[in-house]
Every structure is written in C-alpha cells, then in structure tokens.
C-alpha cells in the first residue's frame, strides 16, 4: 500500500513536471517578422512601384499546380493584405504605378506552404511466448501513426526593376518573412500587424 502510494506520487509528479510547453494562445497571437535587405542598395534611389491588386502568389509542396491565391480562394485575405503593403509603401514615399509604366520596384507578395506528412510504425507491447507457448501470437501487429504538419509564411518581396541585368535577372532588395500563417488565432489581423512591423523594423526603406 505504502509502496503504491509512493509510486503514485512519483508518477503524478513526473507527469506534472515533464517538459510542459507554453500556452498556444500566447505563442500564436502574433507572427514572427523577419526582414532581410541588400546592404549595398540605397532605397532612396527608387521612386515608383507596382503591385498586384487582389492576387497573391502561392507556392506549396502539397499542391504544386496552385500558384496564386485570389479573393475567391481565400475570401477576405489577399486584398486587405495587399492594401496593407500599399499603405506602408505609400507612407515611406513611394508611388504606385501601373505595371506598364516602368516601375522602379516590383512588389511580390506570396505564401509559401510547407506540408509534411509523417508516418511512424509502432510495434505495440512486444512479448515472448511463455514456456507453454502461444504460437502465432508472438507479438501484436504493428500499426502506422500518421500525422501532418502544415506550416507556411507570408512573404513580401521588393525586387529591383530599375536595374535589370543583361541576362534579365532581377535583384531582390528586401524580403519580409511573416510566419506562421497556418497556425494563427486571427490570420488577417496578425498578417496586417506583421506587415506594419516589417516596415517599422526597416527604417532604411523609403524616399
């Protein structure tokens, strides 16, 4: 009885103490905002930009045929996201022009989706036959655990259209990675806040 009590206390204690993780509501209430820029570029050398109105790109290892996200695919997401990018670009002094008007900067906005499927073979309670033998039931049949992980980032990219090389390659001047957009509490709000933060932490952008 006493041994059982101690064992019980130990098991309860271990279960309570072992590797707890943070509260998801607190973890997922804002996106991680990472920005990267070309340190050799002077952003004041650019004046105009072009950006899509209601379509954002979509790159996924799960559905390679889908390349864009429209308002039809994800209602209420692409347009407000693009508008937030436009708002920030306007605030730092750039002027939006049509794609045909030779803009200095091209703005790409897209979602990169990484979908992973894991499978794990589980061999339950392996045991040996007793002396008398339970032939044919040496072990329980293994089963397969399948679980999926779906992650992704919203990417905002600024490319140099003013200095296109002879090989027609364009240089990426600035990139913002905002993630994870697949595990959010409020996707649109967190995305627009993250876009604001991306520009806020990039004070070198602008005229």
């Amino acid at each position: 009885m006493k041994k059982n009590f101690f064992l019980f206390a130990l098991v309860v204690g271990l279960a309570w103490a072992c590797e707890p993780t943070p509260d998801n509501m607190k973890l997922l209430d804002q996106l991680v905002v990472q920005t990267h820029y070309d340190t050799e570029v002077n952003f004041t050398d650019y004046a105009t930009y072009s950006i899509s109105t209601d379509t954002i790109g979509f790159i996924s290892n799960a559905s390679p045929n889908d390349t864009i996200l429209t308002e039809h695919d994800t209602p209420g997401y692409p347009r407000p996201v693009l508008q937030q990018v436009v708002k920030n670009l306007d605030q730092v002094g750039y002027t939006r022009v049509d794609k045909s008007a030779n803009p200095d900067l091209g703005i790409n906005v897209y979602v990169v989706n990484d979908y992973n499927l894991f499978q794990q073979v589980v061999y339950p309670s392996y045991y040996y036959p007793s002396y008398y033998g339970y032939y044919g039931s040496y072990y329980n049949y293994p089963y397969v655990n399948t679980y999926a992980q779906n992650t992704g980032a919203l990417v905002v990219e600024m490319v140099d259209l003013k200095n296109i090389g002879a090989d027609k390659k364009v240089r990426v001047l600035w990139t913002a990675y905002l993630g994870d957009v697949y595990s959010t509490i409020s996707l649109l709000q967190e995305s627009t806040d993250a876009i604001d933060q991306a520009f806020h932490q990039s004070p070198y952008i602008g005229r």
Binding site: F6, A9, P20, P22, K26, Q34, Y37, T151, S183, S202
Partner: protein
C-alpha cells in the same frame, strides 16, 4: 568469472542495502535561478525530487545515497526586435530550461537519540545535470542541450509521523551550482536556490 564476481558484488550490495536503515523520499521542488536571471529569473514551481539514502552506523549520524530531480524553468519575454547583420527579427517568445539532475549525496544528522522522530541534517550532493535550453516563438522552437557538473549543499529536516509509523515528512533547502552552460544562448554557470517539501518512508 567476471560475471560471477559482478553478481556476487551486486548480491552483497543488495544485502547490505536491505540490512541497513534507510529512507526514500519524493518531494515537490521549488527553485529560483540565481544567475543568468535575464534569461530566466522566475521561480519554478514545476519540480520533483526523489531519492534514496542509506543510514550509516548505529547512531544514525550519517547517510549516503542518490538524489534524482527534475525541474522546468520558464519565462515569457514580450515582443522584442533583434537586429541582425542585414535585417531584423521581431517576436515574443518563451525561454525554457528543462533540467534533469543526478547527485550522489552524503548527510550528517543532528539528534540526541537515534530513536527520535525529528532529525535535522546538513548534506552535500555531487553529480551532474542536463539542461535543455529551449526557446519557443510562434510555432518554432530552438533547443540546445548541455551537461554540467553539479554541487548541491543542502540542509533539511525529517519528521516521522509517529515512532510506530515509517512514513514521515521531509523539508529541505538547497543551493545548486552547476557548470552547465549554453554558448548558443550566452548562458553560463547555472545556479539556483531551492526549497523542497514532501514525504519519506523510513526503513527502521
């Protein structure tokens, strides 16, 4: 021959342990980090400690044994922007340390009679601990695991519920110093003050 020698040694050891007075315990362990408090300074109430101690000698002045403990330290860090070489990263995050420690320990007891219900003691444990330094941000997690040498001076009391019962209560304060460090997180020389309370079972 070697196997037989090991079996004989183990049998003798077990016999000795069975013949000796001893006690084992399970405690709730509360710890407050004393160093690197900018990384985690919050008190951890998620800790458990257990151990076995064999009493040496008829006067019950000394004991020696093994302590095993487990603790989780955590702290929330509000949103912060970290400047990088060509950019920046902004996030809020949680710092965690998952700690597992083992210590061989020795104790000296203060009491007038060996049959008392109340024992106070001082002790010292030496061993090793493993810290898993972990940072959680959004769905992402970075972790670095390290081992270090552990020294743990301790003072405590044992209170037997009655002379006819083997079960009792235990309380102790301890100071943990460890060489455990993480260069990844600029964390060096873990140390903490802990208080543990719990139950014990005396085998005498």
């Amino acid at each position: 021959m070697k196997k037989i020698a090991i079996i004989v040694a183990l049998a003798c050891g077990c016999g000795l342990v069975q013949a000796q007075d001893n006690y084992f315990f399970v405690n709730w362990d509360i710890n407050t980090p004393m160093t690197n408090t900018n990384w985690i300074g919050s008190t951890s109430t998620r800790g458990i400690r257990g151990g076995y101690r064999a009493v040496i000698g008829p006067e019950r002045r000394f004991s020696a044994g093994l302590d095993v403990s487990w603790a989780t330290f955590s702290e929330y860090k509000p949103t912060e922007t970290f400047q990088q070489q060509a950019g920046a990263i902004t996030t809020d995050y949680f710092n965690y340390i998952y700690q597992l420690s083992f210590a061989a320990s020795g104790q000296y007891y203060f009491h007038k009679s060996s049959n008392e219900r109340f024992f106070s003691y001082v002790g010292m444990g030496l061993g090793a601990n493993q810290n898993k330094y972990t940072v959680f941000y959004n769905i992402y997690k970075d972790q670095h695991s390290a081992w270090g040498f552990l020294a743990r001076p301790e003072a405590g009391i044992l209170l037997r519920i009655s002379t006819r019962k083997r079960i009792g209560l235990m309380a102790a304060v301890h100071y943990d110093y460890s060489t455990n460090k993480s260069n990844d997180y600029n964390y060096s020389s873990f140390s903490a003050v802990g208080v543990s309370v719990g139950i014990m079972s005396m085998q005498w």
